[in-house]
């Protein structure tokens, strides 16, 4: 509780105070603060609890790699877990809570896990929850699930909006630190279209917390000048609060823009987050580097943080994390922090440098102890002092915070996400970004160049190179002078054996320096196995801080070099991305489009109950009283259609208009049966096969002129048939002179079926509809209701005297009303999908259940349709021997012996007195219906050699309901077997 706000400094607006709450207590900060900086300024350093041992934790970083200070934000439906306090901007009314602690953050019962920590070692789950097997689901899994995770999400629907967007540019610059800004500026000055992206609320990167001079100007002024110039340039877009999370093929990048995440009350008309896909010719990666922690005992105490994070809090936020600091380092970074603190009037007790003979560095006059390490940290929820070990001598030093630096890890993720491995650089003891071709350039710290002058030059060169490659003429690169040109030096320090207490490698997943060697001893020596066994680097920070320390320790434990051990695979996402942002607008009712037929409104007026059928909404049945069940409605609709007349919306059928001199020949190739000799004015049932000989789709096609066919497909296959026809025409037979187009949405199509169908339609249609003038399978253009040009087909799915009338979609509504009016005197009623389906089963017509991608024309009883006189898709392989052997499952009817019994779709067929097994399986039920005409449940089934077994009795075994129903195999046509009615 020792952090405080410095009297001056920081990029915060001290004029504007912001009040917010953390764990129900109100605090005040300034505009420009993050939650972490504002809490530190209020003396709060305890911000979270560790994942496994529930140890007290404070912020370790000041940025997006934060593993410790994770909080819950907001309340109700807007509550979001695991938000990094170090990047969360405060705004008035912000509500935040600590996580993973009970009953409170300061007193957490879960911390008792520390006392059993010898059992919570690497591979703990695998070792402990093995036995007995039956315990897994009932005992172990619920306990693990309850203990796992950090925060809790809201269980309410997200009230906010998200969207997806595309952006295109010539040069994409990732990171707006010194290298990135120079790259963007140079490319922009050359005239290139530039996008520069930075995850922070404000561009500048390290320049926001290092105050070196550049060409005689302070870093802040220099940065402001460049931002102003970029801002004015119309060719440049600056994205702040935006993280490039992934690199994909073809120089495409995914980015998450947090449009309004920093606001407590977002504007409802704008998205809170936006996912970008950015396409660029050239990309410049300037993602900088993340400082490595040092691995010593109790290095997770609140008050211990990255040396650079200390500078960040002091210079950017005007906050000192404590009153007296000890710096622990193995490289130059620690000295910068010591000097910075001294400059701002914060006491530094000592710089402890693990190197015996470090190069001369400016520590701001602070005592430097070389060749020494921290062997003990005093204090439990805070730091009260340390014990330093130097060549066996011990020294006590009082302090209340520690700045540590173990070196720097370049943020190589995006350079490596497409599979290229990073390169080990011994001089800086780090993996640097690999070369991955001229479309992607890594500059500055990510390429291992740490000095400010190098970064600026590097960025400018990359900007020039990238813009030049896009055809622009960059100006010569200017010369940079900076006030900070000391060279970076480091001696690796991976593990401090002299220190006591748990030494954490992965702070978020609580992996310690003991877990990795243990994993190696147990055989998990490969870095990918070590990762999974210990969970090292598997938390939401994806090992940004921990991985290099972990694999260095693995290298030590297995006698290999770090380069030999290598890194784990880099994959998107660089930082966590919400599901909302990935879904964008595609959720709830907008998840996918809804298709409504041209007569939807009419059906709705009739009180139709709709069912989803693919994207379509189709009328399922028409209740006469509001709550009538589908069953009684279906029976009425079937009976009325079979006895009087019914009308059904069949507009969802796929419709394709085919024209051209070669239309007939093309039809002949598509269908297994002939279409070349079909007379003009006639329709024909057609069957399409796949090239492997299996049935693809069925439907009717009509010849409207010598060179003009109108094809219908099943509803489900409307798209696939069109795609198939396009393939056949373009890839197989481009020589055919045909054109075709989907007209599914252009025509409303209505089936009018029943003994009174002709009488009903004749009232509306000018042309003679008598059986002689317009017989079964007639197809012709007609005039409807005096003026509407329609197409009439005498085809029947119901088995009745029936017609399908197609009219231009816009006339669908008026024509269905006209049909209803005309049919009123004949007892017309609409019928829905249930009645349609029942009638097709009564007639044994095959549909989706039978055309299921496993059946041949023979299996469906349609073998005779296959022409022997022409080439067509599927002909050769339909003739293969296996399709003609005995034992094929073919379509038959099924009738329960006991008329009161019901059978279910999907039930399997067994011979009587055999047990269910793969071997005994005789087939399955593909469709069932209660037939009002037969007076009992009937079914269609695919049964082993079924056609030859008509009359046999079998068992219908329903595994879901564990029931057996005795049924008789029969002809699939249950009603009007001689098909008298449809020819009437």
């Amino acid at each position: 509780m020792t952090g405080y706000r410095l009297a001056s400094g920081g990029l915060i607006n001290r004029e504007k105070s912001v009040s917010f709450s953390f764990d129900n207590k109100i605090y005040s900060g300034f505009e420009g603060d993050t939650l972490a900086s504002a809490l530190l300024a209020n003396g709060v350093s305890l911000m979270g609890r560790g994942f496994k041992y529930h140890r007290p934790r404070g912020p370790l970083t000041a940025g997006s790699a934060e593993p410790n200070a994770l909080v819950g934000v907001g309340h109700g439906a807007r509550r979001e877990p695991n938000v990094r306090a170090t990047t969360l901007e405060i705004s008035t009314g912000l509500v935040t809570t600590s996580q993973n602690c009970w009953p409170s953050l300061r007193f957490d019962i879960g911390a008792m896990n520390q006392t059993v920590s010898p059992f919570l070692v690497a591979g703990f789950y695998y070792k402990t929850f093995m036995w007995p097997k039956s315990f897994w689901e009932k005992v172990y899994e619920p306990i693990i699930r309850a203990a796992a995770g950090l925060g809790t999400a809201s269980h309410e629907a997200d009230p906010d909006r998200y969207e997806k967007a595309y952006a295109h540019c010539e040069v994409l610059v990732i990171g707006a630190g010194p290298s990135g800004l120079m790259a963007a500026l140079t490319a922009a000055r050359a005239g290139a279209r530039v996008i520069i992206v930075d995850e922070g609320a404000r561009p500048g990167g390290s320049l926001l917390f290092e105050d070196d001079d550049i060409n005689g100007v302070s870093a802040h002024d220099w940065t402001d000048g460049i931002i102003a110039e970029l801002d004015k340039n119309d060719n440049v877009r600056i994205f702040t609060r935006t993280t490039v999370f992934g690199r994909f093929d073809g120089n495409m990048f995914g980015a998450l823009e947090r449009v309004q995440k920093h606001l407590t009350e977002p504007d409802q008309d704008r998205p809170v987050e936006r996912t970008w896909r950015i396409f660029t010719k050239k990309a410049v990666l300037a993602s900088g580097a993340e400082e490595r922690p040092l691995v010593f005992g109790d290095n997770d105490r609140p008050g211990i943080m990255q040396a650079s994070a200390v500078r960040h809090y002091v210079k950017r936020y005007g906050v000192s994390p404590g009153k007296c600091c000890v710096v622990f380092t193995n490289n130059s970074s620690g000295y910068r922090t010591a000097k910075c603190l001294v400059d701002y009037g914060v006491k530094v007790a000592a710089v402890i440098d693990s190197r015996s003979n470090p190069p001369e560095e400016d520590a701001g006059g602070v005592k430097v102890i070389t060749g020494a390490v921290i062997s003990k940290v005093k204090g439990s929820k805070t730091v009260s002092g340390i014990l330093v070990t130097r060549e066996g001598d011990l020294e006590n030093i009082d302090c209340d915070f520690i700045a540590m630096s173990g070196g720097w890890n370049p943020n190589v993720h995006l350079a490596c996400q497409l599979g290229t491995k990073p390169v080990w650089d011994e001089t800086i003891a780090a993996f640097v970004a690999p070369e991955t071709g001229s479309d992607f350039l890594s500059v500055g710290a990510v390429a291992g160049r740490f000095s400010l002058t190098e970064c600026l030059k590097d960025g400018a060169e990359a900007g020039a190179k990238a813009s030049k490659a896009c055809g622009h003429k960059p100006k010569p690169i200017e010369h940079f002078e900076t006030s900070s040109d000391n060279l970076f030096s480091i001696e690796p320090l991976w593990n401090i054996e002299q220190s006591t207490g748990k030494a954490f490698i992965d702070f978020q997943n609580d992996v310690t320096s003991k877990d990795v060697p243990l994993a190696a001893r147990e055989g998990y020596r490969d870095v990918e196995l070590t990762k999974r066994y210990t969970t090292l680097g598997m938390a939401t920070d994806q090992g940004k801080l921990s991985n290099i320390n972990g694999l260095a320790i693995l290298a030590g434990a297995t006698g290999r070099s770090i380069a030999q051990v290598g890194t784990t695979t880099f994959r998107p996402f660089y930082t966590p991305v919400s599901f909302g942002a990935l879904a964008g607008a595609n959720r709830g009712q907008h998840f996918r489009p809804v298709r409504k037929t041209p007569v939807h409104n009419w059906a709705q007026e009739q009180g139709a109950v709709f069912v989803e059928n693919g994207l379509w909404l189709r009328a399922q049945w028409f209740p006469q009283q509001g709550d009538e069940s589908w069953f009684t409605a279906m029976k009425r609709e079937v009976k009325n259609t079979r006895e009087n007349v019914g009308v059904c919306d069949v507009s969802t059928l796929g419709k394709i208009d085919l024209q051209g001199p070669d239309a007939a020949e093309f039809m002949n190739r598509l269908y297994c049966n002939g279409f070349k000799l079909l007379q003009v004015g006639k329709a024909r049932y057609g069957l399409m096969l796949r090239e492997d000989g299996i049935v693809f789709d069925d439907g009717t096609a009509s010849r409207l002129a010598e060179d003009h066919y109108f094809i219908t497909t099943t509803t489900a296959n409307a798209g696939p048939v069109m795609t198939h026809m396009e393939f056949c025409h373009q890839a197989l037979w481009p020589e055919f002179d045909v054109q075709f187009s989907s007209v599914s949405d252009q025509w409303a199509q209505l089936a009018v079926a029943g003994p009174n169908a002709r009488k009903t339609l004749q009232k509306l249609i000018a042309e003679d509809l008598s059986n002689e003038a317009f017989p079964f399978m007639g197809a012709q253009t007609v005039t409807v209701a005096g003026s509407i040009k329609g197409r009439l087909f005498r085809i029947s799915f119901s088995g009745e005297l029936a017609y399908e009338l197609a009219v231009p979609a816009d006339y669908g509504d008026s024509v269905v009303r006209a049909i209803m009016a005309a049919g009123k005197e004949f007892g017309i009623l609409p019928y829905g999908l249930e009645a349609l389906s029942t009638m097709r089963i009564e007639k044994g017509h095959v549909a989706g259940g039978e055309l299921n991608g496993t059946t041949t024309a023979y299996d469906l009883g349609l073998g005779k349709m296959m022409s022997t006189k022409k080439d067509y898709i599927g002909r050769a392989l339909a003739a293969r021997e296996a399709f003609h052997r005995d034992g094929r499952w073919n379509v038959v009817g099924l009738l329960p012996v006991d008329k009161t019994q019901k059978i279910h779709s999907g039930a399997h067929i067994l011979n009587i007195e055999t047990k269910p097994s793969m071997k005994n399986d005789q087939g399955y039920v593909t469709a069932v219906a209660f037939s009002p005409m037969v007076g009992q449940w009937i079914g269609l089934a695919l049964i082993n050699d079924g056609t030859n077994r008509r009359g046999d009795e079998v068992e219908v075994w329903d595994a879901l309901r564990d029931s057996y129903v005795r049924a008789k195999i029969c002809d699939p046509v249950f009603y009007d077997k001689e098909h008298v009615k449809l020819h009437a």
Partner: protein, 95 residues
Amino acid sequence: MRINCPYCGPRPNEEFNVLGDATKTRPDADKATAQDWLDYVYERDNPKGRLEEYWHHASGCRNWLVVKRNTVTHEVYSVVAARDYKKTHPEGVKK
């Protein structure tokens, strides 16, 4: 990944569907043996490196394309309309 459709220009890959090997030619119905059909319908190489595939610009101009690309680097070498590819490879591609 973007595919440079000869009709629409570079478009994002979610506008396309892929079918597979474009080097196979449908056998001549009069002369082909069962082996020819087996090869055409079922046999597919899974090469590491160059591949020629049919892609359908399903959410675009609805043209079938032949895309030459690299299965390792995902680099796209060329994109031509299937009807033009057929003209230049009437007998398919011999390997």
